[in-house]
Subunit: 150 residues, 2 copies
C-alpha cells in the first residue's frame, strides 16, 4: 500500500492546501458556518473522516439526526450544543459524543466563534432534518425548544 502519511500544517484555523468550503450545499437550515475537510476517504486504509467546522457568532449548524455517530472536540472558542432534550455549554477542549439518532445542533451563542473537529465514519447514512412533528414528539424541554433554529 502506498505510504500516504503526511502532516497538514495549520495557519491559525486554516490548513495548507485544504480548501475552505461551504458547510453544506443541499440544505438551508444553518447560519454562518464553514468547513475544512482535513482527512477523507481518498486516503488508503482510512475509515474515519476528520473535518473542521467553524461557526461565527450568532450562527448555528443544521438541526439533524442520523444513524452514524459524531466524535467532536472543540478547538476554538465556545458555544452550546443541543443533544435531544439537553442544552450543554461547550468550550475549548471539551469532547462531545453524539450517539445514533440524537437530534443535535451546535450554536455559536457566546459572542465568539465556535470551532470544532468532527469525526465521522467514511461510510455513513445521510442526515435527516426533523420536522415539527418529530421535534414535538422527541423534545420536551422548553429551553431546547426555544433554542432550536430551523
Amino acid at each position: 500500500m502506498k505510504n500516504s502519511s503526511k502532516v497538514i500544517k495549520s495557519s491559525g484555523y486554516s490548513w495548507a492546501n485544504v480548501e475552505k468550503r461551504e458547510y453544506k450545499t443541499d440544505t438551508q437550515n444553518f447560519k454562518s458556518i464553514h468547513r475544512y475537510t482535513l482527512l477523507t476517504n481518498d486516503l488508503p486504509g482510512l475509515n474515519t473522516e476528520t473535518r473542521y467546522f467553524e461557526i461565527q457568532p450568532g450562527g448555528y449548524s443544521s438541526l439533524e439526526h442520523h444513524k452514524h455517530t459524531h466524535s467532536v472536540i472543540i478547538i476554538r472558542g465556545s458555544g452550546s450544543v443541543i443533544l435531544d432534550n439537553d442544552l450543554k455549554k461547550i468550550a475549548e477542549r471539551d469532547v462531545v459524543y453524539i450517539s445514533p439518532e440524537t437530534i443535535h445542533q451546535f450554536h455559536a451563542d457566546n459572542s465568539e466563534p465556535l470551532g470544532f473537529i468532527c469525526m465521522v465514519d467514511c461510510d455513513r447514512d445521510r442526515p435527516k432534518i426533523p420536522g415539527d412533528d418529530a421535534i414535538r414528539s422527541r423534545i420536551s424541554t422548553e429551553k431546547v425548544l426555544k433554542k432550536i433554529r430551523k
Copy 2:
C-alpha cells in the same frame, strides 16, 4: 438504541471523570507520556476511539507500525514526528495522517509538552515494534536514524 450522547468537560488538558493513565503497559520503548481515553468502544454505534496523548519535554512515543491508521490533531505545544524516512515539525492544530504500516514516533523535542488527539478504529491490529533489521531496511535517511529512540 440508548441515547448516550454526552459532553466531557475539559479542565486544561484533563477531562472530567476520565482517568489519566499510563501510555502503554506492554512495552517499554517510550518515555514521559500519558493518555486519556476519551471516547471508546463501550459507546453504542462508535467505530472510532478518541484518545489524548501528552508527551513531556524530552519524551517520545514508541517507535511502531501497524495496519490501522492514525488520524492526529495537535492541540498542545509542539515537537516532531517520524513518518518512515521523513522527520516533520509539528505544532498546535497541525493534522497528521499515519497510513498503514508507516513506521512512526512522536517526539516532544521543543522544550514544551506535545499533546495530541489520536483517532483509531475500535477494531484494529496490534502495533509492531520494528527491530534493527527492519529499521535499516526501511529507513535510509540519516536524520531519522539519528532521531529514533527505541
